[in-house]
Amino acid sequence: MTALQVGQTFETVVVEDLKRTQIVQYAGASGDYNPLHTDEIYTTSIAGYPSVFAHGMLTMGLTGQAIAGLVGPENLLRFGVRFTAQVWPGDTLTVRGSVVRIEETDDGRIAEFAVFTVNAEGREVLSGYAHARLAG
């Protein structure tokens, strides 16, 4: 994270061919057992969706791992997202980020990132931002 510059970009594939089992895993770990995410019968025949779909927070969590890996989890100050499209089993998600600003503050150098997560078709499923303290 030294020598980070405005305009710098990064790209990370955070899941390939998302499995229903990973969604189940996330339900169990997060405690969000909404059947829309894990119960195919309920979701298709009662709720009327084509299949179960991922928790928005799974997509945010995957995106957060990519950002934390870049800046160091201790340095994250803010992280916020909008969920812009649903994520389905089979999706491959890529996190794309860029440094939009670096500010010198009393707490040190703070980098502001713009973040987008897209599926294999290039459709945005999440857009957001992260602010992180830069080491050094």
């Binding site: 955070v14 895993q25 996330y26 969000d32 009662i46 928005g56 969590g61 934390a68 989890p73 969920f83």
Partner: protein
């Protein structure tokens, strides 16, 4: 989000949560005391909210499938539209947090299929010393025709 009087940040829970995020190189052993939890871990406080509605509870009807395909509910509180976290410090293994949720703003927007209703909730996570650790803001959207129920 949720109100958990006591939300202990346990190593096994953090490991399970990290695995669910498909970390490419899972540590394979428990994180140590003081290790930072993933940035979105505060959401897992749902496990410690005794009233959390999206967890089946004995004696309470559940709308998912069993012998039948399940039940139509009067809207489960809409879909998650936005989530924001402010980290006053990292959440660490060994923390014992408490969360309190309060309603935020509400607004409406005209969508393609009608009027969308947005509702905000603010959740503060504090440590045992009462210091603010994370402030979370979540926005849910209720689509036309859905009943008005809190998430």
């Amino acid at each position: 989000m949720t109100a958990a009087r006591r939300f202990p940040v346990e190593a096994g829970h953090v490991l399970a949560f990290t695995r669910a995020l498909g970390v490419a190189d899972p540590p394979g052993e428990l994180p140590g005391a003081g290790d930072p939890a993933p940035p979105t871990f505060a959401i897992a406080s749902a496990q410690f909210d005794p009233e959390y509605r999206l967890r089946p509870r004995p004696g309470t009807p559940w709308h998912g499938s069993g012998g039948t395909a399940g039940l139509i509910t009067e809207g489960a509180g809409g879909l998650h539209a936005e989530q924001h976290f402010v980290y006053h410090r990292p959440v660490r293994v060994g923390d014992v947090l408490a969360s309190a949720t309060r309603p935020g703003e509400e607004w409406e927007k005209q969508g393609r299929s009608g009027r969308l209703r947005f509702r905000e909730q603010i959740t503060e996570f504090r440590d045992e010393a009462g210091q603010l650790v994370v402030t979370a803001r979540s926005v849910s959207v209720i689509r036309p025709g859905e009943k008005d129920r809190a998430p």
